[in-house]
């Protein structure tokens, strides 16, 4: 089931240089999307999978680009020149699976019969996970590149993508080259490009090869993956914020051998979790989660990165979806699964961290820098519905139980209001908090029971 959060945000694009078209809000990621026409781009969020061990990184960029494929283009700064073998086209379903597996979840419990003769144990069932983010002629091109101070370091086709790896001496030349080759660079990108050039970064440029796409039969864009070795553990988000007129959304799923991943140049905080919520939230969990996140972002001044999940992938409790298979993990780039277990390097089972951030240039002026910590403490965003016992009963425990329900409902209503910013009276109305929920036996006087 797609939660409302999906549709409203039309989940999105990856690491890309999504900036692009001036008339339209640019949303993106490490790089930017560039388009060669005036087509509208609808990439509002990015999904990035980072597999990291030592200095080795496999980066998966999943896009929900919904325009015409011929209008899709991607420019991402990368630390090294990438050979053809370092680029791969992945499976979007695996990224979606990883997203569903790590998404904040709603759990249901059923209160047991409060009377002592009942030997009921509260049943628990995982009800719904919010899968929040589901998730020219070659020769002339080369000649032109030379005159612009741009070097085409590599050129190849992988899957449905034509890939170029560019290096440049100065940003104006790169900007002009990209423009002349049909990539629309947003105004203002040049200084950002210049800083990456001076840092020795290369540029990974991808376009859809329409004939290859037709031959392969895909109607959507599959995620691009790159593998490289570099001490830099960075996601370049600055390009994607050029000319961006609003906040952008990003999900980072980090898989490591050692432990949790966090940002070193922004505060990483855990999402509020383990709160009891009323039953109606079940049918509105997507809205609930979206508004909860927005409220938390506001509360933290939009200056933090949220951890939504951090768990050893060897197990889950409760599991929001089935665990990923070894094949799926390998598909995401987990390259150490077949290594012999080396206690010094930790277990081979990956540790998954799901990070979620809403960002703009004002609050996130620099690229995201990460570190792998040795923290292996488990954490998950989890919200709990406790279904009330409705089986009756006239024992003192049952009466006490029912007497406490009013306070419990009020507390749950306040919790939802506090977490989401929703109107308290509306919440109470939905819960019917003010109604008389007592049973006839609760209204009996003590003497009514004496000769009963």
């Amino acid at each position: 089931m797609r939660c409302p959060f999906h549709s409203s945000f039309s989940l999105a694009a990856c690491l890309m240089l999504a900036a692009a078209l001036a008339p339209f809000p640019a949303h993106a990621f490490c790089g930017f999307y560039v388009a060669s026409g005036d087509a509208k781009l609808f990439n509002h969020a990015s999904q990035v999978v980072l597999v990291r061990d030592g200095d080795r990184t496999v980066l998966t960029m999943n896009s929900d680009f919904q325009g015409e494929p011929r209008e899709f283009a991607l420019v991402v700064p990368v630390p090294t020149v990438l050979e053809k073998g370092q680029v791969h086209v992945g499976d979007r379903a695996v990224v979606d699976h990883l997203d569903a597996f790590s998404a904040p979840r709603l759990v249901e419990y059923w209160d047991p019969d409060p009377c002592p003769m009942a030997d009921n144990v509260g049943a628990m069932r995982l009800e719904a996970a919010a899968p929040v983010a589901r998730m020219a002629a070659k020769q002339s091109m080369a000649d032109l590149a030379k005159t612009r101070g741009v070097t085409i370091e590599a050129r190849y086709t992988v899957g449905e993508y034509d890939i170029l790896i560019l290096s440049a001496k100065e940003s104006n030349g790169l900007e002009r080259w990209l423009t002349e080759n049909g990539y629309r660079i947003p105004p203002g990108a040049s200084p950002v490009l210049a800083s990456y050039i001076k840092q020795g970064m290369k540029f990974f440029v991808a376009k859809v090869n329409l004939s290859e796409q037709k031959r392969l039969g895909f109607t959507y864009l599959r995620p691009l993956q790159v593998a490289f070795e570099s001490p830099k553990f960075v996601l370049p988000i600055r390009l994607g914020m050029v000319n961006s007129d609003g906040a952008q959304e990003m999900y980072v799923y980090a898989l490591t051998r050692k432990g949790r991943v966090e940002t070193t140049n922004y505060r990483t905080v855990k999402l509020v979790t383990d709160r009891d919520v009323p039953e109606f939230v079940k049918s509105e969990f997507g809205d609930f989660y979206r508004d909860l996140f927005t409220t938390q972002v506001k509360r933290e001044g939009m200056e933090v990165v949220f951890t939504e999940y951090a768990w050893d992938m060897g197990w889950c409790d409760p599991c929001a979806s089935s665990p990923l298979s070894p094949e799926e993990l390998k598909g995401l780039g987990v390259f150490w699964l077949d290594d012999a277990n080396d206690p010094a390097r930790g277990t081979n089972t990956p540790f998954l961290t799901r990070l979620h951030l809403r960002y703009d240039a004002r609050h996130f002026p620099e690229d995201l820098v990460f570190q792998v910590t040795s923290d292996r403490a488990n954490f998950q965003g989890r919200y709990v519905i406790r279904h009330e016992w409705t089986g009756g009963g006239d024992c003192p425990q049952a009466r006490d139980y029912r007497a406490g329900l009013a306070d419990r409902r009020s507390q749950e209503a306040r919790t939802v209001a506090e977490l989401t910013g929703w109107d308290l009276s509306r919440i109470r109305g939905k819960m019917n908090v003010a109604a008389d929920w007592s049973r006839p036996e609760d209204r009996m006087k003590w003497w009514d029971r004496v000769w009963k």
Binding site: K198, T263, T264
Partner: protein, 308 residues
């Protein structure tokens, strides 16, 4: 942080209105430091959700104090002085994260024990907190969260004010200012060279952890060079090293690694640029023989001299 197996401050002489000298008691500057670090710890736990339970905090600080007490007895020091150990313990609580409480206890023990064991020229070589942090990072059983304080200007300002109070009291603001000045120059210089907006170096400087490092770790008067020129040189070297770790090696926690490396140069700097050894109490500095103790032959790992 500025931890020292120090001797309690002595009353210093002052004159009464009628001209007769009378002893007045100065507040040991380490109390300012304890107040500042406790404030940071409280803010971290209550305001920022550091996730440190009372048991972990008590165990870490308790281990630091217990090690100090034990070493005081072993090294036959005249008096148990808990202040420096308290500073190290609270400092480790604010900076070091571990999976287990046992690892935090080990780090605190290591920090305090290092003051007694790793000594060169009569003073301990490493800032205890710095050494413990580096050892735990190397062993892969601990981590530092450089972004843990966020970039709230209020906190930065508060830390600057309180930190300045501490370093002024300790007379070591030169090393702090040299470090911050050179480090800021590196950040701004690099961003100007790259053509980045200046919001980037400002954002990097607005780090609570950086300020905590500058005002509470590198400024440790017991482990910095004795002469002013030496300290300025030392601060600049640590800043340069931090820049290399951050922008050449692309590793986090540049200042912490850099301080650990540059500390090895302190004996050399002291030899080339000698100066007056710091004592927490001015009176103590003037009367070193009274503080000298004889190290028993069994304590061979420790050089002879003042263990303070």
């Amino acid at each position: 942080m500025n931890a020292h197996s120090g001797i309690p401050p002595r009353p210093s002489a002052a004159s009464t209105p009628d001209g007769a000298p009378r002893p007045i008691r100065r507040i040991d500057p380490r109390w300012y430091q304890i107040a500042m670090l406790s404030g940071l710890l409280g803010y971290g736990v209550l305001g920022l959700g550091f996730g440190l339970g009372p048991l972990r905090i008590a165990a870490t600080i308790g281990a630091a104090l217990a090690t100090q007490y034990l070493c005081t007895r072993l090294w036959r020091l005249p008096k148990f002085d808990p202040l420096s150990a308290l500073i190290s313990g609270i400092g480790l609580c604010t900076l070091l994260r571990t999976n287990t409480i046992a690892a935090a206890v080990f780090a605190a023990t290591l920090a305090i024990a290092s003051k007694f064991v790793l000594r060169v020229g009569g003073k301990h070589l490493y800032n205890p907190t710095n050494l413990a942090l580096v050892m735990m990072l190397v062993a892969g059983v601990g981590w530092i969260s450089p972004g843990q304080y966020g970039h709230v200007a209020f906190v930065a300002l508060l830390m600057v004010c309180l930190g300045l109070t501490v370093v002024c009291k300790a007379g070591r603001s030169d090393v702090t200012l040299a470090f911050l000045g050179v480090y800021a120059a590196i950040l701004f210089g690099r961003s100007l060279w790259l053509g980045e907006p200046l919001t980037i170096p400002v954002h990097r400087l607005q780090s609570g952890l950086l300020l905590q490092f500058a005002f509470n770790m590198i400024s440790d008067p017991r482990t910095t060079p004795d002469s002013r020129l030496g300290r300025v040189l030392f601060g600049a070297l640590v800043a340069a090293g931090a820049g290399i770790v951050q922008f050449v090696m692309f590793r986090p926690n540049g200042p912490v690694w850099s301080l650990a490396g540059c500390t090895l140069l302190v004996p050399l700097i002291d030899r080339v640029l000698p100066g007056l050894r710091h004592q927490w109490s001015p009176a103590a500095a003037l009367s070193p023989p009274a503080r000298r103790i004889v190290i028993p032959a069994t304590a061979g790992a420790v050089s002879k001299g003042v263990v303070s």
